[in-house]
Each structure stands twice: as structure tokens, then as C-alpha cells.
Amino acid sequence: MKPSKLLAFTLGTLSAIGGFIDIGDLVADALVGARFGLALAWVTVLSVVGIACYAEMSARITVQTRRPAFDLIRSRLGPGYALAGLLGALAVTGLLVMAELSGVALALQLATSVHYLLWVPVAAALVLVLVWVLPFETMERIYGLLGLTMLVFVVAVWHLIPDWFRLWSSATTPAPPAGETWPAYLFFVVTLIGAQMTPYEMFFFSSGAVESRWGPKDLTEMRVNVLVGFPLGGLLAIAIQAVAFLVFFDAGIQVEHLSETVLPVGLALGKIGLAIALIGVFAATFGATLETLFSTGYQLAQYFGWSYGKVQPPAQAARFTTSIASMLLLATALALTTINPITVTIVAVVFSATLLPFTFLPVLLVGNDQQVMGDLANGRLSNALGTITLGISILVSLAAVPLLVLTRAGTS
């Protein structure tokens, strides 16, 4: 394999990892680990399988048709349905842009102790400049490589010299531990699914396939990215849960802040470990800011048929460029209202969980369309996994808001 091909392979994988871990994961995984141990690790496994299935499907659609998945939703299902989907997706992803941007600011705060609100405009400016100046693949490469530093969480698990039997028995007991109730447990099942199976990952991956100009010959490369990237992301998520479990569970500590997510790494590996974790958090949230931001631009442009993406000069995709800049501005303004970004994340993630079936269904339908997909239409495995995931997403969607209300966002 040529060195450049190998590089392309690994870097696509890295961005799949980075795309999986974002501010929602960073806080939710630590929160869950501190309260429930590894009793929710199975949710991560489920989410990885589900999102990998649909990311592969939507990228395969792109590879065959040279158009991204969202593009085809309007063509096949009509403008009304697609508009409802667009508005829902924009609302959720827009909130996430704000949350991710705040996440970048929070990471910088932890490194410097300068208040995060002061970092928000700096982070936004950095995003704007890099988006304007850097080519798409270079952007992915940078935060992909830096995101590898998140593996420090896996190292930290090792260094805490855990009782492996205890970890194992926690992971294999899918029930709330003593002192926790079933409604709270189920609420966090919903939260984790919402945080880990986010539609923007799917849309970004398939729009990215267009930007990278993938065709049928890139099918294998795309599948390797999915099969290696997302499971690695899942491993990182479980590692975050595990370190929180090992450090906070017995002390009965509740996690509500990013600072608490990285504290265990400091305790395990010292200042160097903490520094590496902060670089990882910065890269993950920065990458997620870019992905959510671009997702909103792609969704809007693909619905209305505008030119989009970085394959042409910004002046030839003016509406796309303007919407992205406006979305970033909006997100910055929202962050500067001092509203708690963690609260916004939880709300966005729960509503994302509610909208999941509406995003999965069209992709599943288009993937099965022989006329569009030809010989790359869904096989039995794709359809089986896709249908099961869709079924689960329907259950989650129905339970999300009732559980949110019943448990008062997990507090009781």
C-alpha cells in the first residue's frame, strides 16, 4: 500500500474516533461511570454498532450516487418531510455547536484557569480562521491526530490498578446499582444513546465522502474507517466511564463538570497525564465544533440545492459559507449568555434521541432502493442491524421526554 494511501486510511479512522467523542460524551460518560459504574457500558457497545451501521450505509449511498445521504432525503421523501427533518436537525445540531464551542473554552480554562467565557470568542475566532484557511482533509487530519491523545484515558485505567473482576461484574450487570433507581438508569440509557448516536456524525461522514471525492473504489477504505474508528471511539467512551467509576463511585461523587472528567487522569498519571487529557479534550471538542458546524451548513445547502463544501472557492458557495458563519456567530452569542453549556448539552442530547428514528428511517429506505443503489444496495447484515437499531431508536425516542420529566433530568 502506498504511504499516502496508508495515511489516508488512518486519518479517516481518526476522524471517526474524534467524531464519536464530543462534549456530550465527555461529561455523560464520566457522570454515568461515577453513578452506575460500568453498568451502562453495554449502551456504548450498542451505540457503536448502530452508528457504524448507519454511517456505513449513508457513506455507501454517497459512494454510489456521489451525493450525500441528506441530499437524497428530499428527492425521495418529499420537501415537507425533509423540511421537518431539517428544522429538527438544525435545532439540535445548532445547540450542539454552542455546547462544543463551550467545551473548547472549558478545556482552555482548565489549562489556564482563565474563565471559560473569555475563551469562547477566542475559540470561535480560531474555528473561523481555520475553517476559512485550511483544506477539509487537513482540518480532519489535525484534530484526528490530536484526538489520539484521548487514549490517555485507557492508559489511566491501567494505572489505577483496578480490580478487574469488579470492573467485569459491573459491566455485565445491566441494572442500577444499590442506591439508584430504574427510571434514573433508563434515563441515562437514553442520554448515552443520544450522546453517542448523533445524526450529525452520519451526515458529516457522508458529506465528507463527497468532499473527499470517494467513489466505488473507495468502498473498502470507507468501511475500514467505520469498522476501526467507531469501535475505538466506543473504547474511549468506556475508558472515561471506567476511570470515573474507579475514582468517584465509592466516594459517592457526582460528576457535573468537565473538570471532574479529567481529574481521574491526573490522579492516575500526574500532571503529564492531565496535560495530555486536556489536549485530547481540546481536540475532541474542537473537531466536534467543526463537524457540527459543517453539518448544519451541509443540511441547509443540501435541502435547498445550493453549492456547498470546500471543493470550490468560498465565493462560489456563498450561501453555504454565510450560513456556517452565521451559525457560528449564533452559537457564540448563545454561549456568551452564560447559560450552562452542560445543561444545553443534556437537553440537546435528549432531543437528539427523540429525533433519531426520523433520521435513520430515510437512510434505511434509500439504502434499500435498488433503483438508486444498484448493486450496492443494503445486504442482509446491513438491513438486520439497521432495522434493529431503528427499532431501538423508536423505543428511545418514545421514552426520552417522559424519562426526562419523571427523573428531573436524572436527579432523582
Binding site: T65, R67, D71, R74, S75, G78, P79, G80, L83, W132, V133, P135, F136, E137, E211, F304, G305, W306, S307, Y308, K310, V311, Q312, P313, P314, A315, Q316, A318, R319, T321, T322
Partner: protein, 131 residues
């Protein structure tokens, strides 16, 4: 051709690209004309733009969309939503391909033009694409 071909699936809501492969918009609506009573109605124009889409969708959302779009258009066309005569439409198997470049369709994608000239185009590096 044994499959029943409905314009709903083959033309409406499809992506439109110009002769240079540049994305312009989508087929948001169609304008029909009946040359004389009893004759088959013909599509004379393809309507492009959020104004046409808003009119087609109807309801509060459609009305809102049409009004905002009408405001945002670079030119004021008293005739209503932007239209492209069907003579300019070439192959429409998958994407609707026009026979002319966007520059020859001054009434289409007014917002794109306006933003490109007045906002995006003024920033340094706006003309550079990814390699």
C-alpha cells in the same frame, strides 16, 4: 420504458446543475400550460428558489418561507418566483442538467450572487478552492 414515470419522482425536488456542473438549486415547482382545451398540458418552466417552494408547501411554514425568500432575492421580479424555461433543461435522468451556465441565468440564485459579490467575495482568499 415499462415503469410508470411520474414527474413527482423524476423531476420535482431534483438537484439542478448548470452546464459547468455547478449546483444551482432544486426543482422547487413546475409551471404548466395547457395550449388549448383538450390538449395534453405541458411543462413550460421549472421554478427554482425558496419562494416557489414556499408557495408549493403551503400552510404557515410555506407562507413564511415564500415571504422571507421574496425579501432576500437580489432582484425584484414582479412576475413571482424564479423560473427557468424548459428549453434550457437538458438531460434529467438523475440530476437536472441545464444547457447553459449560471451566468446566463441572471434571475436564478440571486441571493448567492449578492452574497458572493458583497460579503464573501470581499474577504481575502475567497477565490481559493481546496487543492
Amino acid at each position: 420504458m415499462t415503469r410508470h414515470q411520474s414527474v413527482r419522482f423524476t423531476l420535482l425536488d431534483q438537484q439542478i446543475i448548470d452546464v459547468d456542473d455547478r449546483r444551482i438549486g432544486r426543482v422547487d415547482d413546475l409551471l404548466w400550460e395547457q395550449p388549448s382545451p383538450g390538449e395534453q398540458p405541458l411543462i413550460t418552466h421549472v421554478l427554482v428558489g425558496a419562494q416557489a417552494l414556499g408557495d408549493r408547501l403551503g400552510g404557515i411554514t410555506g407562507w413564511l418561507m415564500a415571504h422571507v425568500a421574496a425579501r432576500l432575492r437580489g432582484t425584484t421580479d414582479p412576475e413571482g418566483p424564479t423560473r427557468v424555461p424548459t428549453q434550457l433543461v437538458g438531460d434529467h435522468q438523475d440530476l437536472v442538467r441545464l444547457r447553459v451556465p449560471l451566468s446566463e441565468l441572471p434571475q436564478v440564485a440571486g441571493l448567492e450572487r449578492w452574497l458572493a459579490e458583497n460579503v464573501v467575495g470581499r474577504l481575502p482568499g475567497a477565490g481559493d478552492a481546496d487543492q
